[in-house]
Amino acid sequence: MPVPSAGRDLARIVSINEEIKSIVAVAFKINIMALNAIFLAKRAGTTALGFGVLSNELRVFSQDLKTAMGGLSGVIHKAVTEVSVLLQDQRTLRLLQQAEAQSGGHARVREALRLRLEKMERHQLSLATQRRQLRQVLDNVAQLVELGGVLAKSAKIEAAYGQGFSASLGQVSGEFDGVVEEIRRSLGNLNKSEFFARR
């Protein structure tokens, strides 16, 4: 039986986890930016009412994003555990296969091999479940980020009506747009991970 490489999967999950950490850091940045934007909107008064509402929404978005990424980290943690177990399975399987070949197919090795393969199959099924869950959470996060993108774009439009404050509001909304784009790129990288290409 060909032995899939859990080692490669582990490396892929680690890089997914690093990407998730960078998104969490960006979510934190949005939260601070939104807080500053709320103060700025208050100073601008009635001309930036809409901008203030959007800044508030962006703050809620950053918190939702942080929560979603936290859920993602939980799934990742389970997947790392499962892949580590598979790594052990693979090593055991390799050594048992060698023992079987060298002992001329000793019945007890064959039986141990069969049991180990059964265990490995269960672990692979469990990993496949983790992979599906991860993909599902990523899809949810992608939808959330789309909403963030809409909010950032709307903030840009509202900034244009900020009269004397429009330059500073425009700068802040541009930064919102930039960080949301940054998250989108990270999500794109996550979706392209070879980890999801495995069956």
């Binding site: 090593r91 055991t92 050594l95 048992l96 060698q98 023992a99 070949a101 060298q102 002992s103 001329g104 000793h106 007890r108 090795v109 141990a112 049991l115 180990r116």
Partner: protein, 246 residues
């Protein structure tokens, strides 16, 4: 595949050495595994590292039914001694492993559960193998701080773990010591460095010299037999150990 040599047999009582794997990668130190069999039950001493498991298993199974293994004995905790534990437990999850109490919670990192380990107290203990009494003999600090050898008084065979080990040059590695003076040169540096205490060494030499031993079987290198057993004990007694250059 490793070779098996039955070097003691008296009816249903025998000792088998599992040695010299020609396919062993050079980066792995060569190890000797020993099997004592009595009335159909076997005890495997220092079963070896995970990477040599296939070679040990296949050699063992050529000589003995692995399903009849009644236990494993680990002289100490090193990876070349017992890191194959999880693989042996694949065959028989109830296989007991005799080991110093000191390592009973460390070796589970290689595999096994609380039920796997039979903790040997510092003073040693008797192990019953289907009617044969084996004696776990203390050898602490030689080289591990919780270390045991195994004595079979009936066969007069003494499994000595790392004591007596020699790092022999390739293609010059007979099963038995042939020329003590030439052989011991390959053991000297090993003993000076790996044996940590002159007092422990003295106590061991006194303890072991009181036993009747025909064959002293180390985990690396060749087996000492006959007069070479006493020669070795005297040599070891006179050796200053616990020394590292630099």
């Amino acid at each position: 595949m490793k070779a098996t040599h039955c070097f003691y047999q008296d009816g249903e009582h025998k000792w088998v050495a599992i040695v010299r794997d020609p396919a062993r990668p050079e980066c792995l130190i060569d190890t000797n595994e020993y099997l004592v069999v009595h009335n159909g039950a076997g005890l495997l001493m220092d079963p070896g590292g995970a990477e040599v498991f296939p070679a040990v298993f296949s050699a063992l199974s050529a000589e003995f039914d692995p399903g009849a293994l009644a236990g494993l004995f680990a002289s100490h905790q090193d990876p070349d001694i017992i890191s194959s534990l999880a693989l042996w437990l694949e065959f028989n999850p109830r296989l007991p492993c005799y080991v110093s109490w000191l390592w009973a919670s460390f070796i589970p990192h290689f595999g096994g559960s609380a039920e796997t380990f039979v903790a040997i107290p510092d003073e040693g203990m008797e192990i019953n193998l289907n009617g044969l009494t084996l004696q776990a003999v203390p050898a602490h600090y030689l080289h591990s701080s919780g270390n045991f050898h195994l004595y079979d008084a009936k066969a007069r065979v003494f499994f000595s773990g790392d004591v007596g080990a020699a790092l022999l040059p390739p293609k010059s590695d007979p099963l038995f010591v042939e020329n003590f003076d030439a052989h011991i040169r390959h053991a000297e540096a090993f003993h000076r460095r790996w044996m940590g205490s002159n007092e422990a060494k003295r106590a061991w030499c006194e303890r072991v010299s009181r036993l009747s031993i025909d064959m002293l079987c180390p985990q690396h290198g060749a087996i000492y037999q006959g007069a070479d057993v006493e020669r070795f004990i005297n040599w070891f007694d006179g050796l200053r150990v616990g020394i590292a250059a630099g």
